[in-house]
């Protein structure tokens, strides 16, 4: 850390001579120490998953949720400082409500990501605050249907497409990741926290970029892969037990009917079994290759 002792890293919003804001970089360190979170966008929905390291036996099992719902169709998972994440979610809910107040319609995933990116960035601008110690993954499914505006209570005369361009695809599953700097991008698969490197490597192997209906992962497959990736990412610190939390969002015709919901227990258990089986197999394979003496590159 060349920055230490130079004095440029002692306050937020200060540029160092080479143009860096060290306090933001330190905030990223807080994220990198946090437990792993991932998000997968597939053709018919989004899956969010979190590794919850069990810090005490006395914690009530399954009671402390790490993935939060925003409005009805959006979910947020975060890594880093949990209370900061809670604040972030509170703000996201305020934004979603404000959007509804203004526009009488649910906020889109993209717009929420934009608003929250702006909010995070504002906390890098002033010496009077510190940046957020979290990276957040925002998943959502924007409705593809012709939906009424909020408060619509009947039908008037039909007046065509309601402002939507005919033939163009509207809505669908979306995934964004917001960093402490306020930077955000859209993703097919996103990972953050301690196990992000391993998780990213696994995400890259999945067929996620296909937009076609026939190609790419289905939502159920994505749930299983998400479980597996959390298990793989956890591998490095095996000694600590963890709980897996998963949520998903499908379109109106899918299993969640456009809502952000917790993955049902039966499916989660199934996914966990799959994850355990696959990670055990990986270990075996590794040992085999070691014995065989040939090198594997990845």
């Amino acid at each position: 850390m060349t920055s230490i002792g130079t004095g440029y890293d002692l306050a937020n919003s200060i540029f160092s001579p080479d143009g860096r804001n060290f306090q933001v970089e330190y905030a990223v360190k807080a994220v990198e120490n946090g437990s792993t979170s991932i998000g997968i966008r597939c053709k018919d929905g989004v899956v969010l998953a979190a590794e919850k390291v069990i810090t005490s036996k006395l914690l009530k099992q399954g009671a402390n949720k790490r993935i939060a719902t925003v409005d009805r169709h959006l979910g947020i998972v975060y890594s880093g400082m949990i209370p900061d994440g809670r604040h972030f979610v509170d703000r996201a809910r305020d934004e979603a409500r404000g959007w509804r107040d203004n526009y009488k319609t649910p906020i889109s995933t993209k717009d929420l990501a934009g608003r929250m990116g702006g909010y995070m960035q504002a906390y890098t601008l002033y010496q009077s605050v510190r940046p957020f110690g979290i990276t957040a993954i925002i998943g959502g499914y924007d409705s593809e249907l012709e939906t009424p505006v909020d408060g619509e209570v009947g039908s008037g005369p039909s007046v065509g497409a309601g402002g939507k361009v005919e033939g163009k695809k509207h809505g669908g599953p979306f995934l964004y990741m917001v960093e402490p700097s306020g930077l955000y991008w859209g993703y097919y698969g996103a990972a953050t926290g301690k196990g992000r490197q391993a998780a990213k490597a696994e995400l890259e192997k999945l067929d996620l970029s296909g937009d076609g209906e026939s190609t790419g992962l289905t939502l159920e497959e994505a749930v299983k892969e998400a479980a597996r990736i959390i298990y793989v990412a956890h591998d490095d610190n095996k000694d600590r037990e963890f709980e897996l939390e998963m949520t998903w969002i499908s379109g109106a015709d899918g299993p969640t009917k456009g809502r952000h919901l917790e993955v049902p227990e039966t499916l989660r258990k199934e996914a966990e079994k799959y994850a355990e089986r696959m990670t055990a197999k990986d270990v075996e394979d590794e040992e085999e290759t070691k014995e065989g003496g040939d090198k594997m590159e990845e």
Partner: protein, 265 residues
Amino acid sequence: MFRNNYDNDSVTFSPQGRIFQVEYAAEAVKQGSVVVGIASKTHAVLVAIKRNAEELSSYQKKLFPIDEHVGIAIAGLTSDARVLSNFMKQQCLGHRLTYGRNMPVRTLVDMIGSKAQINTQHYGKRPYGVGLLVAGVDDHGPHLFEFQPSGMTEEMVAFAIGARSQMARTYLEKNLDAFADCGREELIRHGLKALKESLVQDRELTIDNTSVAIVGVEKQEDGTTKPQPFKVYDGQDVSAWIESVADNAEAAPATAEGEGMDVDS
């Protein structure tokens, strides 16, 4: 004066991504005397060791009712706890006024969590120097939450905070599986036994230094449940419980208590 340059305020990250001011605030919790909380399927109890500044002074209260269905145990700066306690009382009252129901416990705990988090992100503020155990009941049954100065709140089966609380936590971990099916008397005894683990050598539980509080749900005859209001017991009211966990009273029968203290079935 300072340990390093990064621990002057709560808006500066250390190069490792830590906020020392928040960590120091967590130390303040350990300065307070120990409090223990346990939740079963029907009740949540809080027990605490009270301290007195000198022989002739009174003992500092540790357990506070918030609303009919919630109460807290505190460890750390009492005046900070009072701020949070007043806030919680107001929120519960407001909720009761607008909706005509008890405020859900998690909602209440999340509110103080958010309030405390703000203090860790803005210059000129300091984190609260107090930890809480929040015990309450709502439509989902009894709950026990831990609140930390960082704004972290977590639901626990049982927990202890304050000076030497690690020993109490070890006791709780050992007996973890027993709590769910405990009646109120059994739960209180577990709490007091955990408390005893954390006592300094030669110190004992007395009616002056021990507080007990309990909240629960009672099954009505028609199958519905009704909250059993949060109530704090001090002084003579706790003597029977203390005796029942005395070292020489291990084999005491469970029904030895006074009026209104029957064991739940």
